[in-house]
């Protein structure tokens, strides 16, 4: 045990998830495969909108379930780095960069269930990969329902904050276009810029709706659309991360959410300035 691990183990980081495939569905026992599985699941949790402490906890537990002796994992909102040591002294160190995240709570739930399954009964690399593939393609509701959901919530909030039924309908129509914009996959632009454009468009569309007589209160329509844009889940996760001791990750997420809110405010303010000048002139 006194000999440093790197002298005794030539296997560092060699074994990837594909390595034990030749053996045909056996439960992995080497450090590289185990860590690879754990990080695949951890990265997917981060991507689906999970908290950082959940990612660290999951990687930790999965590695232990496969028989690791010690696990050191550190994650922030865009990176997971981990080292695992086996009882025989071999070890592996892997990193995963998670550049983009989206909010997909069903996938988060499925990943959590997969992690529970592994902790109860370790499964082979092939099975983990197959299940991860299923989870990545998991669509619990058809795409068009997301539009309906966005329209319902935005319309509801416009009325909730004191708007009329027509205001609610106008807000719902605008929400359709906002959802469409948010879901444009080929549009690879910065998330912050996307928020700015989206909120500016929401402001302009709200004014336009009232101008043509569809809805009466610009403010209520705008408030309805604001609720759709605000990164609520990020704020919640940031608080939970901060409380669990992941100060760095929580701070990063909190600042990210604050800047995004600022961008949203700037977008709406630009639309309002435009609108005010038109009235003045």
């Amino acid at each position: 045990m006194k000999i440093p691990h790197f002298l005794t183990t030539p296997t560092r980081g060699v074994a990837r998830a594909s390595a034990p495939a030749a053996e045909g569905g056996t439960v992995p026992t080497d450090a590289g495969s185990i860590l690879s599985i754990a990080l695949d699941i951890g990265a997917e949790i981060l991507r689906a909108g999970g908290e950082v402490h959940r990612v660290e906890d999951t990687v930790n537990r999965i590695c232990h379930a496969y028989g690791a002796e010690a696990v050191d994992v550190f994650a922030i909102t865009s990176l997971i780095t981990a080292e695992v040591r086996m009882p025989d002294g071999s070890f592996a160190t892997h990193n995963r960069r998670v550049p983009t995240t989206y909010n997909h709570l069903s996938r988060l739930e499925a990943l959590n269930a997969l992690s529970r399954t592994i902790c109860k009964h370790p499964i082979s690399v092939e099975e983990v990969n197959a299940r991860l593939r299923d989870i990545r393609e998991y669509r619990p509701v058809p795409e068009w329902l997301c539009y309906v959901g966005g329209m319902l919530s935005t319309g509801g909030f416009a009325i909730f904050f004191g708007g009329s039924l027509w205001d609610g309908l106008a807000a719902a129509v605008i929400a359709f276009f906002l959802t469409l914009f948010a879901r444009l996959r080929p549009l690879r632009i910065n998330g912050m810029v996307k928020s700015l454009i989206s909120s500016f468009a929401a402001g302009v569309l709200s004014v336009a709706c009232v101008r043509i007589g569809f809805g009466t209160h610009v403010d209520k329509i705008i408030i309805g659309t604001i609720m759709l844009e605000i990164p609520g889940l990020s704020f919640g996760n940031a608080l939970r991360d901060l409380l669990c001791g992941d100060t760095l990750a929580g701070t990063m997420r909190l600042i990210q959410a604050l800047i995004q809110t600022l961008m949203i405010a700037l977008g709406y303010m630009a639309a309002l300035v435009l609108f005010n000048q038109q009235i003045g002139g």
């Binding site: 232990h64 509701v141 919530s153 919640g236 405010a265």
Partner: protein
């Protein structure tokens, strides 16, 4: 403030609708929506009897987040699945708008008041979530505790 009955109905619709683009599983939608209704009811009651912004929002967020923590354990789902729909109705969209409108129209007095209200509400919500989450961490079941630390 508008009619509480209308507010509750629209809050229900909004919470339900809001959960769908976040892909809350259809199986979890009823409980998630219930969390939103609960939070909104507590807010309306507290706002009526206590007044102010900080305390009603904190109480409502505490109840909503506490509900999420409990239901997450009961149904073995991750907490964010219920947390997000439960507290969404508290988000100060209206105050944020007033702040922006005040700045744009040069009415800085209104902007400052509304801006402070926005912060106050945000602090209230954060406080409620913090209390519920701390309780959730303290009362974490043994089997869920991280191993090997």
């Amino acid at each position: 403030m508008s009619n509480p009955v209308i507010m509750l109905i629209t809050a229900t619709i909004s919470t339900f609708g809001f959960s769908i683009p976040f892909y809350v599983h259809p199986r979890r939608l009823p409980v998630a929506t219930l969390g939103g209704i609960l939070t909104c009811s507590v807010y309306l009651l507290a706002a009526h009897f206590l007044g102010g912004e900080l305390i009603p929002n904190m109480l409502a967020a505490l109840v909503g987040a506490g509900f999420s923590e409990i239901m997450a354990r009961v149904t073995k789902a991750p907490v964010p699945v219920y947390m997000m729909p439960s507290v969404i109705t508290l988000v100060p969209g209206s105050k944020l708008y007033e702040t922006m409108f005040g700045i744009v129209t040069g009415d800085y007095a209104t902007a400052a008041t509304a801006g402070m209200s926005t912060l106050e509400i945000a602090l209230g919500i954060a406080g409620g979530i913090v209390i519920a989450s701390v309780l959730g961490i303290v009362f974490r079941p043994r089997s869920h505790a991280p191993t090997g630390h």
